[in-house]
């Protein structure tokens, strides 16, 4: 398929973090992947090793439910204008295997896994137990 030119006059992007991507130009293939554990801790003292590992949580092991290949479709695209014009873009953040691109992007296969839990001083957290 013939690709159009993307033209953006002004971009303001505040934060690009944790495997976020901002591309100006064309891309053939992108396979972003990110995994993260977000812990909110009562009485916030953090050590180097909090004893929290990806391997202990089933969220990082379970199989993603990828869609099966669909029926192939014969597609004919006609571009009646050769540019996609955007005047202004304002984004606060691009993060965790996300992509912000100006230009064509042929193929993307992305995966993100985020586990969030809280740990209380009295040890009453239930959701931070391994495999919860």
């Amino acid at each position: 398929m013939q690709k159009r030119t993307s033209s953006v006059n002004h971009v303001k992007l505040n934060g690009l973090t944790f495997s976020g991507t901002f591309t100006i130009g064309d891309t053939q293939q992108a396979n972003p992947k990110a995994r993260g554990i977000a812990m909110q801790k009562e009485g916030a003292t953090f050590q180097n090793d909090d004893g929290i590992y990806f391997d202990n949580y089933s969220l990082f092991h379970r199989q993603a439910n990828w869609p099966e290949n669909g029926v192939s479709v014969q597609k004919n695209t006609f571009h009646h204008a050769d540019t996609i014009q955007v005047n202004n873009i304002n984004i606060i953040g691009v993060t965790q295997a996300a992509i912000f691109q100006i230009g064509s992007l042929e193929q993307v296969r992305g995966e993100a896994r985020i586990k969030h839990f809280r740990r209380y001083l009295d040890g009453s957290a239930h959701t931070n137990l391994p495999d919860s």
Binding site: A64, N65, I84, I91, T95, I99, I102, R113, I114
Partner: protein
């Protein structure tokens, strides 16, 4: 007989004045351009107490 679906797409002029986004996150894509295929997956787990439903502070009384 092969039954391949046929599709015809006409992209007429596209001119956008302004885009304002909070965050693009967890295997999401914001694209200004053309694309052939997207396959995106995301897992997110949060404790039940993080999802506060209804009024947290009593609004009266």
């Amino acid at each position: 007989m092969s039954s391949i679906m046929n599709m015809e797409v006409h992209n007429w002029g596209l001119h956008v004045e302004n885009v304002d986004i909070g965050t693009v996150t967890a295997s999401s894509v914001f694209l200004v351009g053309d694309n052939e295929s997207f396959v995106l997956s995301s897992f997110f787990d949060t404790p039940p107490e993080a999802a506060a439903l209804g009024a947290i502070v009593p609004l009266s009384g």
